[in-house]
């Protein structure tokens, strides 16, 4: 379970998050949506223990989110950072050496699902294949929490489709919480259980996506347009 209690985060005096309360239970894929600068990435970094709240408390399964939370949380950065001298297989083995929960067998299954070769040099991979590799490295960890910051951003439709399909195939949906920030709502809508809208550091809505359709007859984009006004 992820819990944020009264969390405020300031950067240089500006509030990125303002008194946010949020509870997320396992067994769900949750989308975090909002404009650029609304606080999406900050929320993920706080849960990953990469940033610390100015006020309030962030916990994962009861443990305070510090750098050491990395053994319970896998985090996919929106940055395209990689080690160009590695091969794909080298990246897999390096991650396996860093995280005891890393499942190399699952990683190899995902490589073939994504049509990636262990022997390819990372620096020669297309942007799309680097995006796919990042997904492999994140989903291969057997941890209760997966955080993904813009996993589809800047990738072509074929790559986005293969990433969506790999999420469905390889997430351990019964035991994991998956929190995804995205602007590509249409593509990811079908795999979200819940959606959270965030604006100017405040959570302005939190719904089960199917309830949204059933009770309000709205998809995520229509709902967002409404709550964002």
């Amino acid at each position: 379970m992820i819990e944020l209690q009264g969390v405020t985060k300031r950067y240089h005096g500006k509030k990125a998050l303002d008194s946010v309360d949020l509870t997320l239970e396992p067994g769900k894929i949750v989308g975090l949506v909002g404009e650029n600068g609304s606080g999406k990435s900050t929320t993920l970094k706080l849960i990953a223990g990469l940033n610390h709240p100015t006020r309030g408390r962030v916990t994962v399964n009861g443990h305070k989110a510090t750098r050491r939370i990395a053994d319970r949380v896998a985090y996919l950065s929106e940055l395209d950072d990689y080690y160009p001298f590695f091969t794909v297989g080298g990246m897999i083995d390096f991650h396996a050496s860093q995280f005891p929960d890393f499942d190399t067998k699952k990683a190899d299954e995902m490589l073939s699902f994504m049509n990636l070769e262990r022997s390819s040099k990372v620096k020669t991979l297309s942007k799309g294949n680097r995006g796919r590799l990042k997904i492999v490295l994140t989903l291969s960890r057997n941890v209760p929490v997966l955080l993904m910051d813009e996993p589809l951003s800047g990738l072509d439709p074929m790559v986005r489709d293969s990433i969506v399909k790999s999420l469905i195939s390889f997430i351990d949906i019964e035991n994991q919480i998956v929190l995804i920030t995205t602007h590509e709502i249409k593509e990811i809508e079908g795999i979200l259980d819940d959606v959270i809208a965030i604006k100017d550091g405040h959570i302005i809505g939190h719904h089960n996506v199917e309830d949204l359709r059933f009770e309000h007859g709205k998809g995520i984009v229509e709902w967002m347009t409404e709550v964002y006004q």
């Binding site: 949906i173 079908g190 359709r213 059933f214 709205k218 998809g219 229509e222």
Partner: protein, 124 residues
């Protein structure tokens, strides 16, 4: 790429309707095993939790039955399949008639129009 869903109806219901239509078209046969929850999820880009819910409503309506440890199967009960066929027909007609009435057509015009259309189609 997968077919898109309408945004005004829950996906689990839309997916159940797609499966019903596949049964009507004969793409899925009575007694045939449905793909696993995850396979269906990957085929249609839908969360496995949602597919699970689709299979549940198909079971509740009798269209599908789950067999312990084996998966979910299309029913072989002809009465259930007949009533599903009848229901989908009525639903399609109802929505067609609603659209026609909305545009100002009278019941007799609609009836006559359909008859004429079907006769023409038969001749060609």
């Amino acid at each position: 790429m997968s077919q898109e869903f309408e945004s005004n109806t829950p996906i689990y219901m839309q997916l159940a309707e797609r499966i019903n239509r596949r049964i009507l078209r004969g793409e899925l046969h009575p007694g045939e095993k449905l793909p696993s929850v995850r396979e269906t999820g990957v085929q249609s880009n839908v969360n496995p939790n949602t597919v699970q819910r689709t299979y549940q409503i198909l079971e509740q309506s009798g269209i599908a039955e789950s067999r312990r440890g084996q998966g979910t199967f299309v029913t072989e009960d002809p009465a259930i399949l007949r009533s599903m066929r009848e229901r989908l027909k009525r639903e399609e007609i109802a929505s067609f008639v609603r659209v026609m009435k909305d545009m100002g057509y009278e019941a007799r015009e609609i009836q006559h129009g359909i008859q004429e259309f079907l006769e023409e189609e038969n001749e060609s």
